[in-house]
Symmetry: C2
Amino acid sequence: MARTRRLNGQRPTLEDVARGSGVSKSTVSRVINGEGKVRAEVVERVREVVAELGYVPNSAARQLVTRRNNAIAVVASQPQNRLFIDPFFDLHLRGIRKELVAHGAQPVLLFLEEEEEYPRVGDFLGGGHVDGALLFSLRAGDPLPGMVERLGLPAVFGGRPLVRGGETVRDCVYVDADNRGGAREAVRHLVSLGRERVATVTGPYDQEASAVDRLDGYRDVLLDDAAPELIERADYTRRGGAEAMAALLDRRPDLDAVFVASDLMAAGALQALRERGRRVPDDVAVVGFDDLAPIAERTDPPLTTVHQDIEGMGRLMARLLFSRTDDPALPQPTAAEPGALSSVVTPTQLVIRDTA
Amino acid sequence: MARTRRLNGQRPTLEDVARGSGVSKSTVSRVINGEGKVRAEVVERVREVVAELGYVPNSAARQLVTRRNNAIAVVASQPQNRLFIDPFFDLHLRGIRKELVAHGAQPVLLFLEEEEEYPRVGDFLGGGHVDGALLFSLRAGDPLPGMVERLGLPAVFGGRPLVRGGETVRDCVYVDADNRGGAREAVRHLVSLGRERVATVTGPYDQEASAVDRLDGYRDVLLDDAAPELIERADYTRRGGAEAMAALLDRRPDLDAVFVASDLMAAGALQALRERGRRVPDDVAVVGFDDLAPIAERTDPPLTTVHQDIEGMGRLMARLLFSRTDDPALPQPTAAEPGALSSVVTPTQLVIRDTA
DNA sequence: ATGAAAGCGCTAACAT
DNA sequence: ATGTTAGCGCTTTCAT
């Protein structure tokens, strides 16, 4: 049965569905949005026409009046391939997506690689395409926190954003692991094993808060024993970990333990130790950080490391965001008062395997 | 200087900017969209107010009238971690993003993992959020081609979509490498080397067109010599390649060459050959497919393989899409006539290293 | 339970 | 060069 059809090649609108089913636009709208208060008979007829016409609501029109569109931006400002290589990112994103999808929100991914992409992404975020944003893997001093703040876009960060030079991010909400506490536990474990010259391979502490915090945790425990030559900075990559380990061994051939601030770097460090003929853990005890199964369980020997619930942190970010976007009455927590919504630091846990 | 400000906590609109700078909405709109025909003096004043108010255009409102919003969806329907592991995806996506960004379009990534995500993604794609879609890594029989067709959304596919059971994708536009030709060249090379029992490890030819095509290329050359026991199917993973190679060696210990349908699988195959004590290329010559630098250049020995310009294919997809979205006057090439726009098959090239 | 009408923020004729 | 006006497709009072 050929009902009213759009002949002009345009997509069908609410109006078309209304005509096709002999009711008003309001009624169709009610059916689409499942508002009840419509006779079952009418509901069915409208549904038929919707299917027949292939009608899909135009969310621009809808957003214009409701101010929402059920999409959440997930933003990562890091070179794409760095993200793809990193199992951390995979897990984190998985957690985020699960929770978003469970809430019926469409996750929309945005990658930022170049400096000049910020304005365009800013326009996108401010343009009403999304109800909120989840941002992570930011560079130090990233303009993103300031941008979402200015836009008044509800946002939650993964990892405490590291501010650089001047501009302070006022009340940005973030989810982060207890990096400092985890590092303390790792180093205390090494000390409790009787190790006396505990070195550390750090992350890029000029770039990432997690690296700063893990180094601070190391210092908390060792205090004055944390000699500068026992500390070597690397970049969270496997190769960087190997090189840093080699440098440490050159400077302090007598070191008997090392806290490596990520599993990936620890894998590199183990390799460097092997190449230098050091036995692990007999000569040198090693503790990593992250507990990424594909790495920590497969190193030789299996890695003692600090566990963090990465997927859970992703889910938490999403839940925190929803606590804001779901109730528009809630005030922006950017005000003086932090509101019901504040940052969360999740616990870590030492997982003892065979390297320490 | 305190000009007119929004006091109600809402985001500023065109109207606010107009009031603040003492001109009409139209003029502000012209300034925003850089249409010229506005006095420099006025332009400057408007720009000031825009900055002062932190005005960002609401693209929902804009989309409603222009039908465009400068965003392109990039859709991958594969388990997220499969994508992240695969260097192919990284390169492909890089090419796509580069071209999109060069055109001033915002790439918006959507991942599909579960069956039940399709409706939501369909609503998103049909909801006017994006001007077009670039889709790749589809599963066999994926509903996506049918969906975008029905929505009338301009789309270009990466890799020829494999139809399964019934529904044919009418005139879907895709970019694909000359998989069949490349495979032919690879196998011909092995034959020209004097190899007489050339086996093949195929991709999942029940799932991906590329696997079908590469197998067809192998058969094209060998004709009746392509005995069933010389053909072993795998899944484009390293482990799968190793297992398939082992199976082939069990069945035909006398094989003297193998065409492996991806570099990742070839890496696995080389390992299996080594474990079985076969020398490469002396005992068994090996040719791969893809020419992914991080793999092909680092295998031992370096891999002879079929090169395809993956990043270029990504860029091409984007360009093809723009040729459609840029000129709305152009008819949908879904009509009987293919129009100026049709699929592109890009050439491949044999890269001879040390395994054949 | 249903319809009529207003309006979300913007652009695009059409005036001037 | 600038302003006025009429919608884009939808939701949402407010009537009925």
